[in-house]
């Protein structure tokens, strides 16, 4: 039987807005198994980014009801770093700039945090250099990228590629990509898609959050969900995305 990677049941979450809670997720259900690619589409403000942040453990969101099992364990009781080290990865819609912190050092610290968490040996700088070179070639990035500071002064496309590079380094069991395709030109989109396709295997899963069908031309989803009003309104195969592209979200109603 195929392993369930994440199982989200009746998830309710709110954010604090001027001292008043506003509920954004209103009973969301989603199960993702190993080897699957899921795409979540939906209108602005439907809760797509909230879902990704809640799963990654963003402190602004509070889960009020429901459960999330990640590899059979309660994800919601873990701190963000423990979630990451357990295999959950979120590629940010807006990756944050950290000036003065070298990209390569950061990648190695991140990688070694996971190694340490899993009780595995940490990688020294020289071995990591070989390791990273292989990853960076997949994304057709120049190695000078590594000498720059983490996202500092990166273009929108470079930031997104750097997210995918981090994903390849950390090799998570679940990669949640929050609008990684937005702001990419067609060449960058292809490269990012190549990165995702290189990463994906029968042992892991991908959750793509996107507004546009175009990424799905390169990364074939097994399931397409429409998220609206804080719940999954409709689920279909890749044809649902094509339908949405043509007729808008009205089809889900």
């Amino acid at each position: 039987m195929t392993e369930t990677i994440i199982n989200i049941k009746n998830l309710h979450a709110h954010i604090d807005e001027d001292g008043r809670p506003r509920e954004i997720l209103k009973g969301l259900n989603l199960e993702i198994k190993a080897g699957e690619v899921h795409a979540i589409m939906g209108p602005n403000g439907s809760g797509k980014s909230t879902l990704s942040k809640v799963l990654a453990g963003h402190p602004d969101y509070e889960v009020t009801e429901g459960s999330v099992e990640f590899h059979g364990k309660n994800l919601l009781e873990l701190e963000p770093d423990a979630r990451a080290n357990s295999g959950l990865f979120l590629a940010f819609q807006y990756p944050v700039e950290i000036p003065g912190v070298n990209n390569l050092s950061f990648l190695r610290m991140s990688y070694n945090s996971k190694q340490k968490f899993l009780g595995k040996e940490e990688m020294d700088p020289l071995d990591f250099d070989d390791f990273i070179e292989e990853k960076i070639n997949i994304l057709k990035m120049n190695t000078s990228f590594l000498d720059r500071n983490l996202n500092e002064g990166f273009s929108g496309g470079e930031k997104k590629k750097n997210e995918i590079l981090q994903m390849l380094v950390l090799n998570p069991s679940l990669a949640i990509l929050d609008e990684t395709d937005s702001g990419l030109d067609i060449d960058a989109l292809r490269i990012v898609a190549d990165g995702i396709n290189t990463y994906k295997s029968s042992k892991n899963a991908v959750l793509l959050i996107t507004h546009y069908q175009r990424l799905l031309d390169y990364v074939q989803p097994d399931f397409v969900h429409v998220l609206a009003g804080g719940v999954i309104q409709k689920t279909g195969d890749k044809n649902l995305a094509l339908e949405l592209e043509k007729s808008g979200y009205a089809v889900s109603k």
Binding site: H58, L90, I98, L104, S105, S113, P125
Partner: protein, 470 residues
């Protein structure tokens, strides 16, 4: 009379006594000392009522024993010397080293070639040395305590009155120093010391100076330093000061610079040590098209204090200045930023910026930030501002979502905050030294140390990679 008053009186009396027999044999210096003594006779001990000293805690001065530094160098063992030099001298500047020990300039501990054409390093208060070097004598005559008549800073006057020696560092016109010069001020005695240096950069000369203040652990001294720097037309001076004083010490730094036309001063100050430290920086831009970059990083923890008082006077047209001061405060540390840009009448087309950013790592830390502008002229561009904040939640979350612990993420962000200024330091081992000191002040966690060492070792590693590409 209360205790404070009697301590102040005793302080003043001791200065008067020490200054009485301390007149220099160099006429121009003794003249300045006479003026300083007269001013001190009429002066009161500074108090919090003075705007300039509003936030300063004078107990940090008055509670220390006041003993005038001895002019005689105590004998140091050879092993002690090499130990200290190994520890605090940067390998890039080990051949261009000026050392003062407990406030006294020591040619014996220093290591520089005295015969370089165009570069003079000498004790400015030695008639013997000045007799050998008429050029140096002329500079001392012209520039030593040049502003003494208008000087009202109490401790600057005390310094002038009580100095026994100090060094003159002078560059001839067009002399461009190719190597950075390091000045190491080392203190290990519980005493009141005066340090004085006079820097002169001739026309179109170039100097890269790294000034390090080091105090041995737990020494309780009061240090009073005055640096005067005169930049002639077209001179370019980079002066980077790394302060690692004893955490029991009180230190007062007066820095004065005068910029002639087309000259450029970069002054970067990195403050990590001392129980209480105070900087009084004054830059007079007297020539057109001159530029001053004045930056500072102060990292304080525990119950320590750091004060920065900066004054930039734009006295000539078409001159520019930039200031960036960053403070990182933990525990119940206190800091003050008091910066004033003054644009004089006639100083049109002045372009000046001033920014003070503070990061408070604890609720008990306190910052008083006062960026100020005084513009007496139209047709100028000036901006100023200050921020006080804590670590950015989005940045923290981003790092934690990459598997880094909360402590590790905090360490990265504080490192990031400091690097904007530390990266300006021109030599690598000094950059690492400053990074280490910044980190030692704020990191209480093993995790933080790990993060730091990983980030710091990168510079070594980068070279390796470049070499292997070929």
């Amino acid at each position: 009379m209360n205790t404070t008053e009697s301590l102040e009186l005793s302080f003043m009396e001791q200065i008067a006594r020490a200054s009485a027999g301390n007149l220099s044999s160099i006429e121009e210096i003794s003249q300045a000392q006479i003026i300083a003594n007269q001013k001190l006779n009429n002066a009161n001990f500074p108090s919090k009522r003075d705007e300039a000293w509003k936030y300063f805690d004078f107990r940090d001065i008055l509670d220390l024993d006041f003993i005038q530094a001895s002019n005689n160098m105590p004998p140091l063992s050879q092993s002690r010397i090499s130990e200290l030099i190994d520890k605090y001298v940067f390998k890039e500047s080990s051949e261009n080293l000026i050392v003062t020990y407990n406030g006294v300039f020591s040619p014996e501990l220093s290591n520089f070639k005295s015969s370089i054409d165009g570069l003079t390093i000498t004790n400015f208060n030695s008639s013997e040395e000045l007799a050998k070097n008429p050029k140096a004598h002329l500079l001392v005559k012209k520039y030593f305590a040049r502003n003494i008549k208008n000087e009202n800073n109490f401790f600057n006057l005390v310094n002038t009155s009580l100095i026994s020696n100090g060094f003159l560092l002078a560059l001839d016109d067009n002399y461009q120093a190719t190597q950075p010069i390091q000045v190491l001020h080392l203190s290990d005695k519980n005493e009141f010391s005066q340090i004085r240096s006079l820097i002169f950069a001739g026309k179109n000369s170039k100097l890269d100076l790294l000034v390090t203040y080091v105090g041995v652990k737990d020494a309780k001294y009061l240090k009073n330093s005055v640096v005067e720097a005169y930049l002639d037309a077209g001179a370019q001076v980079k002066l980077q000061k790394i302060q690692n004083e004893s955490k029991q010490a009180t230190v007062l730094y007066n820095f004065y610079a005068q910029l002639e036309r087309d000259s450029k001063l970069e002054f970067d100050s990195y403050s990590f040590g001392a129980k209480s430290s105070r900087k009084d920086l004054t830059v007079d831009i007297i020539g057109s098209n001159a530029h001053a970059d004045i930056n500072g990083l102060y990292v304080v923890n525990g119950a320590r204090k750091s004060h920065q008082k900066i004054r930039i006077n734009h006295l000539a047209p078409h001159s520019t200045s930039n200031q960036m001061f960053k403070g990182l405060l933990d525990d119940s540390a206190r800091a003050e930023f008091n910066g004033l840009i003054e644009v004089a009448k006639g100083a049109i087309k002045t372009d000046s910026t001033q920014l003070n950013k503070n990061l408070l790592l604890s609720n008990g830390a306190h910052i008083d930030s006062r960026p100020q502008l005084n513009i007496l002229n139209d047709d100028v561009k000036c901006s100023h501002g200050s921020t006080v904040g804590s670590l950015d939640e989005e940045q923290l979350f981003y790092l934690e979502s990459r598997g880094l612990s909360s402590q590790g993420a905090r360490a990265i962000l504080t490192y990031s905050f400091c690097q904007e200024l530390i990266k300006r330091i021109s030599i690598e081992s000094a950059r690492n030294y400053a990074s280490n000191l910044a980190f030692a002040n704020i990191s209480k966690q093993e995790e933080g140390n790990l993060v730091f060492s990983t980030l710091a070792e990168n510079s070594k590693f980068k070279r390796y990679r470049v070499e292997n590409v070929d």
